[in-house]
């Protein structure tokens, strides 16, 4: 029992699929005036917990006590009425509405009276030290400003408890300190602040309390003081963790060039930073990392290198990797691992075998000249690919929908590495994967470079980039603003990612 609790969860359980609980009997409390961090791996149940507090999901068992009184949040409006605000990972703003319209929409009747004019809203936002442009559609604002609108939204409704779901993934390392300063100020006024994150450093630097959830169960909950990085990691992954070195910096920087981008540009759009004069060379045997805060042109870079989008200016050349660059020869399309494997990587409802071979299904090995599928050959080839890539299925006729995220990603990766292409382009390769699956994916990427392929890894996960890359380029505002070779200076990388400083990029 916690007498200082503002909100308590009592034995909360939730499962979306019967028999697979996302949360199991979680009891914990959030206090006024405190910055409370919630840690856990992807899929541990952190977001589900926040969603339950905010009324987006209902618990199967257990409940919420607000100031000692039982409350039921059937929908967000109940939670808002009880003084709870939430800043979602994917912002809940109507994209075509201005900040003013969004705030007015979300305001409770009491708050609405104070906000009848845009000027009132602007003044209110400034009084919290969070100035925002009021009359531009929010879709046109940078993500950091959209986040600010979300915070003001909670403050307008006088939330006593504000929940943040992964708030720092869209911020650069330099912006993060400023962000926590804002949270500290909000907590100092007596509000409870909850931050779900998977960045340990932030927790150790800024939080008062920390709760760790693993596989839906509460592992620990208490003051940050006295906790170390190592024991938090142990709580998160359930064992002490020695990261296997992945031999960053051992790739060859002298391999043959297989792809060259020269001053590639795409016009920026409301939802995209575009690309500006991006020049990049990818060589056999080398892993190149692309670091940057999300939404700074990574998607566009992926599309251009993959050949899915033609640049508006500049050129992309794919080469056979032959020693003689004067006779470049176009080669097979690069192997691709996209950001969103459900929508772009797989066809969730077609068999694993077809997923593995979809891009080559027309080849003579898999279909007759008349176009009839050679089912037996497809199955046996798919089986050997699964064995090689360690995809665990009962049969290649299974659909990827029934597989774990790790196995799904292995399928996408196996397909990307199966072709005779000399290049692999991956975007957020470990997103949503558990620890073991992430390591496996990184190991295979490193091995692909060892076999003589060029590997481009676009990721917002700095640690993994540092471990795997021979060379890291930093993207900011659609521009390559710096390039660092292993061993990379972490501080320097952080500065570059916020665009505070630019380096001359060697052509």
């Amino acid at each position: 029992m916690d007498p200082d609790a503002l909100l308590r969860l009592t034995g909360v359980s939730k499962s979306f699929v019967p028999g697979h609980p996302v949360l199991e009997n979680v009891s914990m409390s959030f206090r006024r005036g405190e910055l409370h961090a919630v840690l856990g791996e992807n899929g541990a149940g952190k977001s589900t917990m926040l969603n339950i507090v905010f009324g987006l999901h209902q618990p199967d068992e257990g409940g919420l006590l607000l100031d000692g009184r039982q409350v039921i949040h059937r929908s967000p409006s109940d939670a808002i009425a009880n003084g709870i605000g939430m800043v979602h990972q994917h912002f809940k703003l109507v994209p075509s509405f201005t900040a003013g319209e969004n705030l007015r929409l979300a305001a409770t009747p009491a708050a609405r009276r104070r906000l009848s004019r845009d000027a009132d809203i602007g003044r209110l936002a400034e009084s919290f030290g969070l100035p925002i442009p009021i009359d531009i559609p929010v879709a046109q604002l940078p993500l950091a400003l959209q986040q600010r609108v979300e915070i003001v939204k909670a403050l307008v409704n006088e939330a006593a408890l504000i929940l943040f779901d992964e708030p720092t993934t869209i911020l650069g390392p330099e912006e993060i300190a400023g962000f926590y300063a804002v949270l500290r100020r909000l907590a100092a006024d007596g509000r409870g602040i909850v931050v779900v994150t998977h960045h340990l450093a932030e927790v150790l630097d800024h939080a008062d309390r920390v709760t760790v959830i693993r596989h839906g169960r509460l592992v620990s909950s208490g003051p940050v003081a006295g906790r170390s990085r190592a024991d938090l990691v142990r709580d998160i992954v359930g064992r002490s963790l020695e990261l296997e070195p992945l031999a960053a910096g051992q790739g060859r920087a002298d391999g043959d060039v297989v792809a060259r981008l020269e001053k590639v540009s795409l016009a920026p759009r409301p939802s995209s930073a575009g690309l500006r004069d991006v020049s990049l060379e990818l060589r056999r045997g080398e892993v190149v990392g692309v670091a940057g805060v999300e939404g700074n042109g990574q998607r566009e870079l992926f599309d251009v290198v993959a050949g899915l989008v033609s640049p508006e200016r500049g050129t992309v050349t794919w080469m056979s990797g032959a020693a003689d660059p004067s006779a470049p020869e176009r080669v097979a399309a690069p192997g691709l691992v996209p950001e969103d494997r459900h929508r772009e990587g797989l066809v969730l409802d077609l068999p694993v075998s077809l997923n593995l071979l979809l891009d080559r299904i027309g080849e003579p090995a898999f279909s007759t000249p008349a176009g009839r599928l050679r089912h037996a050959d497809i199955a046996s080839h798919a089986r050997s690919m699964c064995a090689e890539a360690d995809v665990r299925t009962h049969s290649v006729e299974q659909t990827p929908r029934t597989l774990s995220g790790g196995n799904q990603q292995k399928i996408v990766l196996a397909r990307a590495l199966a072709g005779d292409s000399l290049m692999v382009v991956v975007h957020q390769p470990t997103r949503g994967l558990d620890f073991a699956a992430s390591e496996e994916v990184l190991r295979r990427l490193r091995a692909a470079a060892g076999e003589g392929r060029a590997v481009l890894v676009i990721s917002s996960h700095l640690d993994e980039l540092l471990r795997i890359s021979d060379r890291i380029v930093v993207i900011y505002g659609g521009r390559i603003v710096g390039q660092l070779s292993a061993p990379v200076d972490r501080e320097r990388l952080g500065v570059l990612m916020t665009g505070d400083e630019r380096e001359a990029v060697p052509a």
Partner: protein
């Protein structure tokens, strides 16, 4: 081609008269679509309204009560459709198509079982035209704009009201939010399902009036099977053509009314095209509109997307 002032006046009056059902229905559809529901069932709602109005007229003998029955039928049918689409998240296109076939069969059954074919309708003049003193005698345009049904005037007033409400009021803000970003509206505490339900019932009310207009004003109190003949589908096209803006929709309806009027007045102005081709004209116009204008960015962001809490 003969084109003197008198025939022009007749054509114009006929065009305005025939634009009314499309206008009323498309204003209803507008509210639905601004709330994110692509209501393909509009045709069926109009058909139920048209049938209900004649049934009411036969029961009561009162044209005004007939219209009210049409409205009730449209709204009642809309509640059924809204339970499927807004509450149960049925795909609005498939449920709408199914609903339209149900309406076609249901009203046809109802006509055989409940309507008397020998019924002589009372005078529907009060419903069909209100002559605005002084103005309706203005040459050429007088009859067209000042001698029309009160339902039509109501529709135009409603368009203006809707414009103001959608743009400048809290209910309008909420409606637009639900159509543009349902999950954001939900997180802001707006009851998305209830708003969409209400929008569909409002659409049913207007479709009911539109249907009543078709039977009581445009065909003298007689219900024939499939009396709407695709006007509900046309109204859906009009909303897109009118860029989801009430005042543009008034103009678009008028244009479609013109196309519709040609089938009656085409002969008079010497347009020697066979009737089926003239009947085809409004649909051809809607199709051409797409070809010329192409895709629109004005469409509500979540149009046609069933709301699922937790989906992005």
């Amino acid at each position: 081609m003969v084109f003197d002032a008198v025939t022009f006046g007749l054509l114009l009056a006929s065009a305005v008269r025939l634009s009314a059902p499309i206008l009323l229905a498309s204003l209803g559809e507008l509210v639905c679509e601004r709330g994110g529901v692509l209501n393909i069932g509009l045709e069926g709602l109009m058909l139920f309204g048209a049938f209900g109005a004649v049934l009411g007229l036969q029961w009561t003998g009162e044209p005004v009560l007939g219209v009210l029955c049409g409205v009730a039928a449209g709204a009642g049918a809309a509640i059924v459709l809204a339970v499927a689409v807004a509450v149960l998240r049925a795909d609005s296109v498939v449920a709408g198509i199914g609903f339209n076939i149900l309406a076609l069969g249901g009203t046809s059954l109802g006509r055989e079982l409940l309507l008397s074919p020998s019924f002589t309708a009372p005078s529907l003049r009060a419903l069909a035209s209100w002559r605005i003193p002084g103005l309706w005698e203005v040459p050429v345009v007088g009859r067209a704009f000042f001698g029309q049904s009160p339902l039509l005037y109501g529709g135009i007033v409603l368009a203006i009201v809707l414009w103001a409400v959608i743009r400048h009021s809290r209910p309008g803000l909420v409606l637009r939010a639900v159509g543009e970003g349902a999950s954001a509206a939900d997180a802001a505490g707006i009851p998305v399902t209830a708003v969409r339900f209400a929008a569909m019932v409002f659409c049913g009310l207007l479709a009911g009036i539109a249907g009543a207009y078709l039977t009581l004003v445009a065909s003298g109190g007689v219900f024939t099977d499939n009396v709407t003949a695709g006007r509900g589908y046309l109204a859906v096209a009009v909303v897109i053509f009118g860029r989801w803006k009430p005042l543009w929709i008034v103009l678009a309806s008028l244009l479609f009314g013109c196309a519709d009027a040609l089938q009656y007045q085409g002969q008079a102005i010497g347009l020697a095209l066979p009737a089926p081709l003239l009947l085809m004209f409004p649909f051809l116009l809607a199709l051409l509109a797409w070809i010329v204008m192409g895709r629109s960015d004005a469409a509500p962001g979540d149009l046609g997307v069933p709301f699922i809490r937790g989906a992005r």
